[in-house]
Amino acid sequence: MTDAQLVIQSNREIGKNTYEMVLTGETGEIRPGQFVDIRLPGYYLRRPISVCDFAPGRLTLIYKVVGHGTEYMAGLTPGAALDVLTGLGNGYDTAPSGERPLLIGGGAGVPPLYALAKRLLAEGKRPRAILGFNTADEVFYPEEFQALGVPVTVTTVDGSRGVRGFVTDAMDGGYTYYYTCGPEAMMRAVFQKSVTSGQFSLEERMGCGFGACMGCTCRTKTGHKRVCKDGPVFVKEELAW
């Protein structure tokens, strides 16, 4: 965990109610699948947001406007400084991925899979991605994944873009392992349909984001786990789904 003062370089809408924010500064060490916790003036609790991409001194976040805090974030302009706790959570483990891992993201769960895709490619793996949304106007980042060289299947519930249906409708058997992040209902469906082991990034309302308050605890087969500190990534075998 690093307590960082970061400066906004850009903050733009990339899909319906979905924003991409680029921050620079001393970000500290970050791994794919980790998240940051942002302090906003006038709001008591920090906002946990998953990390989409990172490089030395640079951090990209994608967030959906769902309440007052994220609405405030959407109004921030380049040059503004933010107090950000970085390097939170365990992140994805790429060791068990095999040659052809599948990345399955739903809506606001897509972003952490981008940094993961880059890491897997750097390790010589050949990831593919299924990115699920409700409607075409919500879709973001398929081109960015493709630009990395990751084959992408987009699904929309209403069929307005890509495959009509859910991410599970686009899952076939040709993967060695999988990584997923998205709404719990989606991840439970992935859990049921999957034929290999995989890793799930969970979400829960958090107090602190770094393991102190026990606000976000979940039950797993290996005991009570804090989503923020022991997770957010859990392996399939741990989940009591």
Binding site: D3, R39, Y44, C208, C216
Partner: protein, 305 residues
């Protein structure tokens, strides 16, 4: 050089700053980012006889200048706390710690207290009779003078360590409950626990927190906490650990002027993991500015006549 040390029932602390139970775990998360031995002490996560998951999530909600929590005393149980957490805690914290304990019956309070009594590293026992988030226990003991006195007697009978009863603000007369604890032999009182509150999600038209209600903490409660410390100071002769929304060194001084001998820092640790460290560091500077040489001199200093 100003003197920041204070003494609670024979236990001398380098300074009065004590991270509050439930906001500091067993110390490790914070020990990773600063040397927590600069603290006066800290109060570890409330411990019960049996392991507890606590309440179903969501357990957290934001409020204006504060937060609600309904964690519900999640903890690994006294056996694991003694065999695993305390040995790990000793590696990162070398001062006497405040053991926060809770229970659902007089027997349970006494049993947990008896176990903790044998732990050398524990300097003081803080007995939570005020958790608003559990049913058939916790706060129900702290809402009447009679039951608060009963718990006090039960734990005092099994330990030689100083016993501080942690009081609930969700009562009509907190001073009467503090007096009952004092009469039953309590060495001190700590207050306030959280204030019961709730939020409703407008889209779902349902409470944000699954438990419906939660405990309010953060700067929003500071004036209420201060008023209660003031009232209790006028009612009892035993030391008070004051808490509730303390976020700055100035807040610490204010609490002490109202009557607190030491001060716990709670929710502030959750929004700024360095909050307690900053308070410890700023305290001597604020004392110099206010011409305070010995911190103990100001305890109750705002009460005149």
């Amino acid at each position: 050089m100003v003197n920041t040390s204070v003494t609670l029932s024979g236990l001398t602390l380098d300074n009065p700053v004590i991270p509050a139970s439930g906001t500091f775990g067993y110390g490790y998360e914070f020990a990773q980012i600063y040397d927590i031995n600069i603290l006066g002490s800290f109060s570890f996560k409330g411990t019960t006889r049996e392991p507890r998951f606590g309440n179903e999530p969501p357990r957290i909600a934001e409020t204006a200048s504060g937060m609600l929590n309904a964690v519900g005393l999640q903890n690994p149980g006294i056996d694991k706390v003694i065999s695993e957490e305390l040995p790990r805690l000793r590696q990162v914290f070398h001062k006497p710690v405040v053991a926060n304990i809770s229970g659902f019956s007089l027997d349970e309070y006494a049993q947990v207290c008896e176990r903790i009594d044998r732990e050398e590293g524990v300097g003081l026992i803080e007995v939570n009779i005020s958790c608003p988030n559990v049913h058939n226990g916790g706060m129900s003991f702290g809402t009447s003078p009679e039951s608060a006195a009963e718990v006090t007697r039960a734990v005092k009978a099994v330990t030689k360590k100083p016993v501080y009863m942690k009081l609930s603000p969700n009562v009509t007369d907190i001073a009467a409950i503090a007096r009952a604890c004092e009469d039953a032999g309590a060495d001190g009182v700590s207050l306030i626990n959280t204030l019961m509150g709730m939020r409703i999600d407008l889209k779902r038209r349902a409470p944000v927190i699954r438990n419906v209600t939660g405990g309010l903490s953060g700067p929003a409660v500071f004036p209420v906490a201060l008023r209660m410390v003031w009232q209790v100071y006028e009612a009892v002769g035993i030391p008070i650990i004051g808490m509730g929304g303390v976020s700055t060194a100035e807040d610490v001084i204010e609490m002490m002027l109202a009557g607190a001998t030491a001060v716990e820092v709670g929710a502030a640790n959750l929004v700024d993991p360095l909050a307690s460290k900053k308070i410890v560091e700023e305290l001597p500077l604020v004392m110099e500015r206010l011409h305070i040489e010995n911190l103990t001199d100001i305890i109750g200093g705002a009460h005149h006549g």
